[in-house]
């Protein structure tokens, strides 16, 4: 995108809370923004590196739970006579820990994924997410299980004693998520246009050739998974301190599916893909709800849409639009406006 277009688009995004009076719409935008961050991270793994990771929601949830638990504090018996206690910590510290822990899990999964490729890795990743969900559901002492973690504090930034800003209201959270999303985009973009990004793409396109010129497969799989996991963890942490309730449902497979649809339909392996996909599939449920359509129908629509996209726009919406645009420009450049004389003659 050209520079002026980018600036205009950003200016528009930053202006939204100033004129959007409907707080519900802001809420939808915030949630969509969080999902877009998660989708961008999945795109790094699924789109650029070509890893069929279907357990991505695990990193999201780990980020959410870690950050919440750190900021709420907890008491848990790791062994019958060994009590581990943590006092509540500032939210920003919780968030950073959540990101770090999610990234660490990504490191582990990345190492595993080298041994177990293709369809088997799909299953491992799904199983991993399910195990984490079951842990969250059953380790009630730590996570409150289905009763959920409540009253999660909001992010507060500032200098203690001097001033402090609490991200309590929707406009504040909108800006927080927007800045986080822009940061995520910049990081991903830097990565994929660098030697590391080229290595990841090379792994996806032609692994033997990539290794023959020196690309270390394990290293870049692990790197991609780690960064994707950390970013998803960040999205999860943002989510936790915005909605302020976190329960094991955050690990449901259906959320991974949502992210996958966003990436695939938007255009995997493109920078704009997850954003476009995220906007469409983040806002679509609201449009359908406004039309008084039951949530089940919405999911049926999602499922059918996914199938149709895979059949007719296999690379996703962004590449399809790009190709169409380029094709049109090429056609117009090739053909002089020869139709005019004929049209005039016909008059």
């Amino acid at each position: 995108m050209k520079l002026w277009a980018t600036i205009a688009w950003l200016a528009f995004l930053f202006s939204v809370p100033l004129w959007m009076g409907d707080l519900y719409v802001l809420h939808i935008l915030i949630i969509t923004g969080i999902f877009i961050i998660a989708a961008m991270s999945l795109n790094l793994l699924l789109g650029y590196t070509g890893q069929l990771s279907l357990g991505h929601v695990a990193f999201f949830g780990i980020g959410a739970y870690t950050s919440s638990l750190m900021s709420l504090g907890f008491e848990v018996h790791l062994l019958p006579n060994w009590l581990v206690k943590l006092e509540p910590k500032p939210v920003w510290l919780g968030m950073l820990t959540g990101i770090a822990l999610a990234g660490a899990c990504g490191w582990v999964i990345g190492k595993v994924s080298f041994k177990v490729r293709g369809a088997y890795f799909v299953i491992v990743s799904v199983s991993f997410a399910e195990v984490v969900r079951l842990v969250a559901l059953n380790w009630v002492e730590l996570t409150q299980g289905p009763m959920a973690l409540n009253n999660i504090p909001v992010l507060r930034l500032g200098v203690p004693g001097w001033f402090e800003f609490a991200f309590l209201r929707k406009p504040a959270n909108y800006y927080l998520v927007l800045v986080a999303a822009i940061l995520s985009y910049v990081l991903i973009r830097r990565l994929v246009s660098s030697r590391a990004g080229r290595a990841m793409i090379a792994l996806r396109e032609n692994e033997p050739l990539a290794t023959s010129v020196g690309v270390d497969v394990t290293r870049y799989l692990v790197l991609a998974t780690m960064i994707a996991a950390a970013m998803a963890g960040a999205a999860g942490a943002l989510y936790a301190h915005y909605v302020r309730i976190v329960d094991p449902d955050v690990f449901l497979f259906i959320y991974t599916v949502t992210m996958v649809i966003m990436v695939v339909a938007g255009g995997k392996g493109t920078l704009a893909g997850p954003i476009v996909g995220g906007l469409i599939f983040g806002l679509l449920p609201e449009v359908l709800r406004a039309a008084a359509i039951k949530p089940e129908v919405q999911w049926v629509v999602y499922g059918v849409l996914m199938i149709l996209v895979v059949y007719f726009l296999p690379e996703g919406i962004v590449p399809a639009v790009r190709n169409w645009w380029q094709g049109r420009a090429r056609r117009e450049a090739a053909e002089p406006p020869a139709g005019r004389p004929a049209a005039e003659a016909a008059r």
Partner: protein, 263 residues
């Protein structure tokens, strides 16, 4: 194993078995620094298998391989590439979805030193290095004659140019020893001639070349020495003239008519 002066690659009693099949059976040969050595032999003689073993794509059943004294067997392909041993593939192998320029840029992977942290932080050294890499990629494309195709997708290239791109990608990895697996197969005589000139230039850069080829005109034209394999064993080693006269080779491979015509 100590490096003997002037020996680039030492293959010692190389044996490779798959299931019940012995693809390479105690093959021993060496590649001298600066030379162009060709591996010839009928189909199934074990040439590509040997290549795969040398570059770490398959495991050896027995024997050793050493590059300038350093053991290669047991190393992963990317580690072997980092030592300076780079190969091309028998079946055309490029990054089809990427542009010609990007293909070479990927090949320059080992050249670059940017760390992930520096990349994420967007340090100016990263941007500087990217510019240098772009220049190098253009240079390499000019060297093989593909600079006009830089922006085009690799998939749009005609066959002959695809094979040139393969060589460009391999060259980007800065090989000291370049292994070319049937580089001119499928090329017409004009393209083959062109490639022979390119090979001379590669050699002029000080790169040692190990070549697998069936095109006898090319083999006889570019090689300093030739090693002939049959049924996984080395049956002859020597200069092109010696190989042509060697009765074993003639019988196994070259055919009576060629020998009579050129002997």
């Amino acid at each position: 194993m100590n490096a003997r002066a002037g020996i680039e690659l030492a293959v010692d009693a190389l044996t490779i078995r798959f299931g019940g099949l012995t693809a390479v059976d105690g093959a021993t040969f060496e590649v001298r620094t600066g030379e162009v050595l060709s591996l010839i032999g009928p189909n199934g003689a074990g040439k590509t298998t040997a290549f795969n073993a040398i570059t770490g794509f398959i495991e050896l059943t027995g024997g050793h391989i050493a590059y300038r004294g350093q053991r290669l067997d047991g190393l992963k392909p990317n580690q072997i590439a980092a030592l300076g041993v780079v190969r091309t593939f028998q079946k055309t192998s490029v990054f089809t979805g990427r542009s010609v320029h990007d293909n070479v840029a990927i090949g320059l992977h080992l050249r670059s030193r940017q760390t992930p942290l520096a990349i994420l932080l967007g340090l100016p050294s990263v941007a500087r290095e990217e510019k240098e890499l772009a220049k190098e990629a253009s240079q390499i494309l000019r060297f093989v004659g593909l600079e006009a195709r830089a922006g085009q997708p690799a998939s749009s290239l005609p066959y002959g140019e695809l094979r040139l791109l393969e060589v460009a990608v391999a060259l980007a990895a800065q090989p000291k020893l370049l292994l070319l697996d049937e580089p001119v197969s499928g090329m017409n005589p004009v393209e083959t001639d062109s490639f022979m000139k390119l090979l001379a230039q590669i050699r002029g850069q000080g790169i040692t070349v190990l070549l697998v080829e069936h095109d006898m005109k090319m083999v006889m034209g570019v090689s300093d020495r030739i090693v002939c394999l049959n049924h996984g064993r080395v049956i002859a080693t020597g200069s092109p003239a010696e190989i042509q006269r060697n009765p074993e080779v003639v019988r196994a491979y070259l055919g009576e008519r060629y020998a009579r015509a050129h002997g």
